[in-house]
């Protein structure tokens, strides 16, 4: 894959230069992350180069592609058992520990590459593309394809091989279908969404199906399970306050069916101060931290599942201190286990195409909770220069 993507890029560069109609943009993003874990300050640095290609092949067909090149250095191998409560990980024998080490390997891959065909009635997108659905900010119960990072929920999601068809039924109604092919039709991901508007409220009805892999991390046996999903989103405002709700019911092939719901609200004051809050309920999560099993932890840490706790609250705020500086932060509270994560943020516009961002992460919960101090406190400094 690595050789293929590099070869593709090398092949495309002279083509773009020759024809002048392939636009090459992107960004370079050096990032420094530091974490205090067991009284030791660990550093993981990365340099990411993202190259975006785009071309108007005709009046109604476009090509878009993105390559990612990421180089990691510093503390690149993390033992996931360090983040799991000691009593749950006690059974792991010394010789098996290596199996729980997560390594950050250098990456060079084709993240997205798709063709988009427009017409007055429909838009067809074919290829590897990002799929972003749902009205939630930090969590999206109707999203079958992605799990957001709570430290940075608005970061790019990896591309998904899929076919997307948007059909405009009227100015207020759209039908969207995704098909993400796998080995067989049954295993392939499917998502159907009907989007509409009533007065100032947007709504979306969703139905989907996807095969999900659950790993038993005690023996690394993987089990596939089909899940069907029905969902509904609503976004609008009440008394001038923005509000939204995203709800999904998952029908599981083997395990228990469950509900996942998000409700949220936001407001901007005259001064430009913005604040939002979200509540997340997921019946897959535990009601109390004593219910979290070893597999629950590992599935959460490897993003096989979206949460450990059943109920969480998220709030985010920012204030434009000057035209070039935004300060703010997020607070994530796990209601089920009474643990708290603070994420102060500051973004500075260094230049027209250069931003400097700082994120802190301060975990305050007791051992065994979702946002336990054992997760390690620290921060990220990220510089991003677009070209």
């Amino acid at each position: 894959m690595r050789k293929l993507s590099v070869a593709l890029l090398i092949a495309l560069l002279p083509v773009s230069a020759a024809y002048g109609d392939v636009l090459i943009n992107g960004y370079f993003e050096p990032q420094f992350a530091g974490t205090i874990l067991d009284d030791e300050f660990l550093q993981l640095n990365s340099n990411k180069l993202r190259i975006d290609l785009s071309s108007d092949l005709s009046d109604n067909i476009t090509f878009t592609g993105n390559f990612n090149y990421i180089n990691y250095n510093g503390h690149t191998h993390w033992n996931l058992l360090d983040f799991v409560p000691d009593k749950l990980a006690a059974f792991v024998e010394e010789e098996s520990i290596q199996a729980y080490v997560l390594g950050y390997e250098d990456e060079d891959e084709l993240d997205n590459a798709y063709l988009r065909l427009y017409s007055k009635v429909f838009t067809l997108t074919v290829g590897r593309q990002q799929i972003s659905v749902g009205s939630g900010y930090a969590w999206n119960p109707t999203d079958l394809f992605n799990t957001k990072d709570i430290l940075d929920p608005t970061y790019e999601q990896p591309g998904v091989n899929s076919l997307r068809l948007d059909i405009g039924l009227s100015t207020d109604h759209t039908m969207v279908m995704f098909y993400s092919p796998e080995d067989t039709w049954d295993k392939s991901g499917k998502l159907f969404r009907f989007l509409g508007r009533i007065s100032h409220f947007d709504y979306a009805l969703s139905a989907g199906q996807r095969q999900q892999i659950f790993t038993d991390f005690t023996n690394f046996h993987e089990q596939e399970e089909r899940q069907d999903m029905l969902g509904v989103d609503l976004t609008g405002e009440i008394l001038g306050i923005g509000c939204w709700s995203e709800n999904a019911y998952r029908f599981m092939e083997n395990s228990d069916d469950y509900w996942a719901n998000v409700i949220g609200m936001d407001y901007t004051f005259s001064s430009g101060w913005y604040m939002m809050a979200e509540y997340y309920h997921n019946e897959q999560g535990g009601k109390d931290y004593n219910q979290y099993s070893f597999n629950d932890w590992m599935r959460f840490l490897t993003t096989e599942t979206k949460t450990l706790a059943r109920d969480q609250a998220y709030s985010y705020t920012y204030y434009p201190v000057t035209d070039l500086i935004n300060v703010g932060g997020s607070v994530v509270y796990s209601i089920s286990d009474n643990s708290l994560l603070l994420i102060p943020t500051c973004e500075y516009s260094v230049g027209n195409d250069v931003t400097l961002t700082f994120f802190g992460n301060i975990y305050t919960g007791k051992q065994g909770t979702m946002y336990s101090e054992d997760m390690g406190n620290g921060g990220i400094i990220r510089l991003r220069a677009y070209f």
Binding site: S132, H200, Y267, G272, T322, D323, N352
Partner: protein, 218 residues
Amino acid sequence: MNQETCWGVIKLTIVTTSGKEREFTYESFSADKGEKNVIKYTAPVRVKGQATLMLNNADDIWAYYPRTDRIRKLATHAKKQKMQGSDFTYEDMGSGNSFVTDFDTERLDDEKTEGYSCYKIVLRQNKEGSSNYAKIVMRVIKDNFVPVVIDYYDEDDPEICKKRLTQSDIKNVDSIPTPMKMVMHNNLDDTDTKLEIIKCKYNIHIDKSRFTQRGFYR
């Protein structure tokens, strides 16, 4: 008054209190006399492809972020938000002819402003209005009805003039007098945002799908 449809390429320059400048270029589409608006950024690269759809005089706003392929519906309070940190809010850009319906008008004594003989008109928000300004004072050139200076007053304290828009370099585009340059001065922050029309066409055909969420992908 806004025309039936309008398309333009606009350069927006933010001048901060420290004198630093940030430049943006966007393509603007409007229809139904400004009741429907789309703004799509073309530069700098950081925001390229980002777009905002405003319907019902910016009472309904959607923002599109191409890097995450996410569309977010914004509530009406977002009308107060600064566009890309500029001194223009979404309401300033997308409210179309709402000043006709959302405000009661009173003519004051005529004035000479920026060298033009002008009508001076004060607009006070009525009960049906959803503007974030309590009052707007316009100086309108008698010869061509172009507002040359517009003062925007605070929603909570109608005595505080928050911002002043000055329009200049008036040219005839498709026989319609059009100010090619605008400066919004923020009296509270002492910052300026300049708008310059690079290209502009009036009353052309713009496909209806442009003013839908699907239009973000165009």
